[in-house]
């Protein structure tokens, strides 16, 4: 929380979250937690854990646990996770260690692929799966965003000029994360993963921003074609970082899906103007 002049109080994204750590597979894994209600686990993208207004809004309805996966942020270099299924298994162990039997799971971009693998490994524990701009199916030759903070912002956000300045990333952390994600992201079209998706019956919501400059939103239909219980939603005028660009729109549909699953297609909008 910051107190500005004239007594104006501005809360920053993630202010309500408190830090915790959990041990899994020999890793000490940091997480941020806030809220009460059904558990909602989040696995971040290749840039690491960054709490957004989306997390804050979700924590009004759910017990949100946002992990920092091993090798990201201030954690030591992770050269032990050999592939994505192994990282997913570690994260499943971490949820176990927190005493979560069943939970809702959201993965963002790189973490979308981790979340898919986690759901494939332990489908009975995942009540609903949300994939925010998932990077599990990519066009041939796609490259993760790189470059100066300005270049990164142009790739990630629909309107970077509208966002408050963000802290500059530590180059050493960035380099560590880049090595890890390059090693684990797998091929653009991962036959092993895609071959298993038709068997994944967990209710799944896939979201893409209409101006995603990292993974083209046209990738969305592949999930729908491969997964038997998949819903695809486009978030208008959002980039790759949907929950940063349009947090209210993002959380409204995500929370509705978590609450009602497939029945979220039924409108509950009240259109009575006056009784």
């Amino acid at each position: 929380m910051r107190v500005l002049q004239k007594g104006l109080i501005v809360t920053q994204a993630g202010d309500a979250f408190r830090e915790g750590h959990v041990d899994a597979d020999g890793f000490r894994i940091r997480y941020m937690e806030a809220g009460q209600g059904p558990p909602f686990v989040h696995l971040h993208g290749a840039g690491g854990l960054r709490l957004t207004r989306g997390h804050d809004l979700l924590s009004r309805q759910f017990r949100v646990i946002a992990f920092e996966m091993p090798g990201f942020g201030a954690s030591p270099e992770n050269d032990r996770s050999r592939d994505m299924p192994e990282l997913a298994a570690t994260m499943a162990t971490a949820t176990d260690a927190l005493g979560l039997d069943q939970f809702n799971l959201m993965g963002t971009s790189f973490g979308g692929k981790t979340a898919l693998w986690l759901a494939l490994l332990q489908p009975d524990r995942v009540q609903a799966l949300v994939l925010e701009a998932p990077a599990a199916i990519r066009p041939h030759g796609s490259r993760p965003p790189a470059g100066s903070p300005e270049e990164m912002a142009r790739r990630l956000f629909a309107h970077p000029e509208r966002l408050a300045p963000m802290p500059l990333p530590d180059p050493a952390v960035q380099a560590r994360q880049a090595r890890l994600t390059a090693r684990l992201r797998g091929p653009d079209r991962d036959a092993d993963l895609e071959g298993r998706l038709p068997g994944l019956v967990v209710p799944t919501l896939v979201l893409f921003g209409t101006v995603d400059r990292v993974i083209p939103p046209e990738m969305g239909h592949f999930y729908k074609e491969l997964m038997p219980n998949c819903h695809l939603v486009f978030v208008y005028d959002a980039g790759h970082a949907i929950s940063t660009d349009r947090p209210e729109a993002f959380v409204e549909v995500v929370a509705d899906f978590i609450e009602r699953r497939e029945a979220f297609v039924i409108s509950r909008t009240d259109t009575v103007i006056h009784p």
């Binding site: 729908k224 074609e225 939603v233 486009f234 978030v235 208008y236 729109a249 549909v253």
Partner: protein, 359 residues
Amino acid sequence: MKVSYFETARYRAPRQLPAQWPVPPAAYDRDAGTQSYHGMVERMQFVEKLGFDWISVSEHHYSPQRLTPNPVVSAAYLAGYAQNIKIAVLGPIVSQSNPVQVAEELAMLDNMLPGRLVVGMLRGITGEYLTYGLNPAEARERTSEAMELVLKAWTEPQPFGWQGRHFRFRTVAVWPRPRQQPHPPTYALGTSRESCEFAARHHLGLGVSYAPFGVIAKATRFYRDACAQCGWQPAPEHVIYRANILIGETDAEAEALLDEQRRARQAFPLRAQVRDALLELDIRNVAGEARTPNVGGVLPTNFVGSPDTIVEQIKCCREQSGVGVIDLMFQIPGSADLGFLMRSLELFGTKVLPRIRDV
């Protein structure tokens, strides 16, 4: 140069109509109405024989001057009688429509008229916002979002949801899909920076209207630059220019008609207070430069003269602004003399059309 005839259903009121907006529906004459719709077909068949490339229809509300509140209904009616002419729906006012319904209806038309549907989508002139109670301050944003949703509904192979600012759908899965792939030739209609950039980003054409050639050129230049930034170059046919035309046997005859038009008072004016309030709320621009919206004003006529003069004006228009399709409003709507309209069409079709093909 391609030529389109703009058809508005010419309603000939048997009695003087009250000079106010909206005109009370009680003043409507049913026989005159039916006649005006039948006339649409007659005129379409006439211009088709003369060799016009397209016939265009538009959406206008609460207006005896343009009896076409639904352009898709107009187009579907004409489609039943059309042989080879293309039908251009220019276009649905998407700011105040249900975009999914627009996508569905146009996809139907595209299948009924294989290869012969052209689509333009627009924000609508300022006065139209009063029809369905659209907040003028939201019109621009709603237009951009609606156009994007229509394109998505046409092209997305799987059912999807749309989490917009102004539109929200949990399930969109349009049947039929458009016959033309990825969708019918589509134009963003307008001179604004936003229209030009949207068209460039989505590889659409641009439709501009009524303004003098210089103003049009400003918008089309902006559009071409925006297309270049998006890595493509539009063809001449990517730019439509809708304009009024007065053609006479001689320049003098056409000029006399223009004088007569200028003297004619505005037919159905908005109340001054409403007009002024709309002007305050409706922010418009040409290629990023602010412009005053037209609220009930008289639109200029930019092609005036004998066939020779008109040919030169069309050449000049093409040179200045790169327009590849002219969409012509012959004689202002509301004019009672349909005989003169048919003579104008014939004069244009026989004396101008054959000479501008290679322009």
